[in-house]
């Protein structure tokens, strides 16, 4: 069982993330935590100094964090985006597509299930925050 | 009386608690009195039943008859397809449901 799953080679940030509100006031932080009701776009002016964005999923059924991650990637953010909280193996494939590259679930994940989930889809239909080529582009290459 | 019901995890069939097992026929349901929560928690975690819940019923002609129509329909089957109910040959069974 794994507690944190990271798909990055760089060193993980080793201190706690701060809330969006305190981040905007506190200029020296480089890790921030987004709650579902936070607007990810508030971070856009500060992306250069951020190394880690934690996106909290208090319940897996609240899908706002998927949009938050994509918005950050669309704004050019290349640091870590980590899904924390009620993160289940059946969600991590889509999270990865939306730009998450680390997962810190409340309940540890079975590595075999993780591997199966991430290798599930041979192709994808849509453009998203990952580098996969959509089927409709493959058809017209 | 309080009886327990749920659906079989694998088949989805409606089942009733007979004191030691989950069975298809409500005739075998027993009054669990104040033990409903304990039995349901134990049985759900053992995956012997899916989404169990307690039902208020009235003993009528020796059989528990749920007080709510929804559970009477569950106990028997769709009223519009008597051929698919648990008692397809009983012409009076509709009166038990409605």
């Amino acid at each position: 069982m794994v507690d944190i799953l990271r798909f990055r080679d760089d060193e993980a940030v080793d201190h706690a993330a701060v809330t969006v509100d305190s981040f905007v006031e506190q200029t020296n932080a480089n890790a921030v935590r987004i709650e579902p009701s936070d607007d990810a776009r508030d971070l856009i002016p500060h992306l250069a100094q951020i190394h880690l964005v934690e996106v909290n999923f208090p319940v897996f059924g609240d899908g706002r964090g998927y949009s938050a991650a994509r918005i950050l990637r669309e704004a050019g953010y290349t640091g870590e985006i980590r899904a924390v909280g009620d993160v289940l193996v059946d969600q991590i494939g889509n999270m990865k597509r939306c730009g998450f590259d680390a997962f810190e679930p409340d309940a540890p994940l079975d590595p075999a299930d993780v591997k199966a989930a991430l290798n599930r889809w041979p192709e994808v239909y849509q453009e998203s925050a990952d580098s996969r080529t959509p089927i409709w582009n493959l058809r017209h290459e | 009386m309080i009886i327990l019901t749920g659906n079989d995890l694998k088949t989805g069939a409606v089942v009733w608690w007979d004191g030691s097992d989950w069975v298809l026929h409500i005739e075998n349901a027993i009054d669990v009195g104040g033990n409903a929560e304990a039995v349901m928690a134990r049985e759900e975690s053992a995956r012997r039943v899916n989404v169990p819940y307690a039902v208020e019923a009235t003993l009528t002609d020796g059989v528990a008859r749920p007080n709510h129509i929804k559970d009477r329909i569950r106990a028997l089957g769709p009223t519009v397809r008597p051929d698919l109910t648990l008692k397809p040959a009983d012409p009076e069974i509709g009166n038990w449901v409605i």
Binding site: P36, D39, F60, G61, D62, G63, R64, Y66, S67, R70, E74, L88, D90, Q91, G93, N94, M95, R97, C98, D110, D113, A116, R120, W121, P122, E123, V124, Y125, Q126, E127, S128, P134, I135, W136, N137, L138, R139, H140 | N7, L9, K10, T11, G12, A13, V14, E44, R47, N50, V51, N67, H68, K70, I73, R74, G77, P78, T79, V80, R81, L84
Partner: protein, 543 residues
Amino acid sequence: MYAYDKYDQAMVDARVEEFRDQAQRRLDGKLSEDQFKPLRLMNGLYLQLHAYMLRVAVPYGTLNSRQMHALADIADKYDRGYGHFTTRQNIQYNWIKLEDAGDILADLAAVEMHAIQTSGNCIRNISSDHFAGAAQDELVDPRPYAELLRQWSSFHPEFMYLPRKFKIAVIASDTDRAAMRLHDIGIQIVKNDAGELGASFYVGGGMGRTPMIAPNIREFVPLDQLITYSEACLRVYNRYGRRDNKYKARIKILVHELGAEEYTRQVEEEFAHLLGQGIEPPIAELGRIKTFFTDPEFADGAKTVDRSDPDFALWVDRNTHRHKHDSYVSAVISLKPVGGIPGDATAEQMHLMAQLARDYSFDELRVMHTQNIVLPHVRIEDLHALWTALDEAGLGTPNLDRIGDIIACPGLDYCSLANARSIPLAQKISQRFTANGKEDTLGELKLKISGCINACGHHHAGHIGILGVDKKGVENYQLLLGGSEAEDTSLAKITGPGFSEDGIVDAVETAADVYLSQREDGERFLDTYRRIGMAPFKEALYG
């Protein structure tokens, strides 16, 4: 019609394996029911009153005979010999075992079908005009756009956990046969002044507990921005739709609370941003899809029928629809026999409909949201042979858009959300109006029944609507009048206090009698209601 390529097939095959794995993890106890429920729902598997229920997607309601045969085989092999066609142009089976679900999905995948996103808080099956590609009045066939949206919405990574379910309809004629403005997004394909095709977006309609008619938020989205604009609509909803109360979570509430203007402003802002992200499919993809929806080889033939058999003539008058080619019609197979269960079809009937589609309709069938089946392209000279075969199988009821052509949700006979039964009412009403001979004189009268506030039976949109409620453990029925799901969209209003099961059947007859006594030349029930208002009906019902 659309055919899968290797990519589409690989996706549904992967889904079969994913769901097999998920079901196995549930059976093994690795997933709790709370965790499994959203996963099974995204694959159309519900736990209903008597068993698991599986809803199979019929994208934009279009099927070929091979697919219909496969649906019949599933009914026989895994269920109890029948299926139920739904108001979302889908089919559902009532007696499914979790253990069999993976095998059923594999059987579906073998005929290019699936149950993907037929439930759950995600984008559901895209619905469309059941006469698409055949109707004389359409601008273009709307289904290529629906297919493009199907691909875009399938497994969309950002939109699998929306605040609530999300339904999209696409039409391409001014006549609305798909209840377009009662959808989360309704799209009408239109032509602008320059003669270019584009999409007119209506957002925030819906039925349910708070029915609303969608406002138009943009009159013309160019076709090469269709997906980007849709994505913007969804992203604003995903971020700002209410999640604190499931009854206020549909997009209609967001649009209503923000106001259409502010919602539109936010969408336009997101749209402007997304245009720079390159998410739109190549326009050639729409071109590729369109090649699957070209006309079959229509041939000139007879333009009229021999009307010497009055039963046949009646069926032709009632159950056929004008086709763009004058030697053809679209023929409606009624799944509403008098006293029957609306939308149910046996495996034998499905096999027969499949065979008839092959013989008489270029291998194509459509599921209507009114729970009937269409053979879209029937030669007028074949109509008698078709009718004869249907009539022998109990599929020839001549009641399209009549009071006996009732939409009814499964209600408390099957559904765990229902408060009251719907089907027995439909049976009694169709029997009553056949017995008293009034079905004929009433003309067009759309009656729709829901067994609970969720409105799967579209009661808000019925000329006459019935809503079942639970009154202290006893079924009770509210009567509504004046709804329409057509291009003259309106929401029905409640007449007053509810009725018992027998009382509501009498009440429907009372309302019908008010119409018959007050109608002027050429007026339908709905027209008379709109002219004279609720008062005369109330007076007759409660006075």
